[in-house]
Amino acid sequence: MEGVFPHEVFQIFGIPIRDTVLHTWILMGAFILLAYLFNRYSRLRPRAWQMPFEAVVDFAAKLIEDMIGPHAERYLPLIGTLVLFIASTSMLGIFPSLGSPTRDINTTFALAVVVFFAVYYYGIREHGVRGYLKHLMEPNVIVFILNIIGQFSRTLSLTVRLFGNIIASEMIVAVIFVLVPAGAAIPLQLLGMFTGLLQAYVFTVLTCTYIQSAVANSSSNEDTDKTQFASLEKE
């Protein structure tokens, strides 16, 4: 049971390093190495090993196009990294003696803070500082306060959702393992894998929704309405 919670492994200059941080570093190293190798050895005419990588990129790009709209290449670095990182960290929990880093609330909080600032970044990049403030105040000033509160509360809910799901599935596995040591925990671990992948998807879809609401242009919506009306009239 004690192994479920993150624990301190060693200290660097008096800063305690938990095992979750260590696993995150290992994963980051693996990803950087993979990205380097992929960039170096990928070809325009792909070989078989290149396909899974391209499938992941395609998945993220299609998700962005469905949720945010055009200019998928702007959001692909953030969204793709979130998908890959959360999915792989959640999968890490199935190996014995390795826990998934997302069972530490600090990891998920860091991810949610990244999303929090990314929303502002993309919003300001799309509308400019003044335009984005105006966008937050639509249709009147009272909504501005609600928007700000909403941005903090959804950071909290992103944090707690991922953390709660992962730690719940790991804790169930630990409890069953204490009660019945041999093999009984395997179906629950599969369930935990499924939960992890689903949570990676949900986290990313919600990030896309938040970015979409930040970059959404009210005037361009009117344009699409007009074009829809025009096409209806043609029919």
């Binding site: 959702r161 799901n165 730690i167």
Partner: protein, 88 residues
């Protein structure tokens, strides 16, 4: 001494009650949401993909309430601030 025992009993029963209610209600509501989504998908299979995305997002939102309850229960069980009162 008596009051300490009472406090421990209350603090171990309270998470049980909370997690029971906090699982039943979101489960019922999520079932309702899935039911409606499936009905809509059966009626209009051509928009099934859009419905599925919206369904997953809204299920995540509903799930959050249950997760909040879980978080409160975890705090009560493992990191209870009231236990400091018990020690003094």
């Amino acid at each position: 001494m008596e009051s300490n025992v009472l406090l421990v009993v209350v603090m171990s029963v309270a998470p049980l009650v909370a997690i029971t209610l906090g699982c039943i209600l979101p489960a019922l509501v999520e079932g309702k949401a899935v039911l409606k989504a499936l009905e809509a998908m059966a009626r209009q299979p051509e928009v099934a993909d859009e419905i599925r995305t919206t369904l997953i997002v809204s299920l995540a939102m509903l799930e959050t309430t249950a997760i909040y309850v879980l978080l409160v229960c975890l705090i009560l069980l493992f990191a209870n601030p009231l236990l400091a009162l018990l020690a003094t």
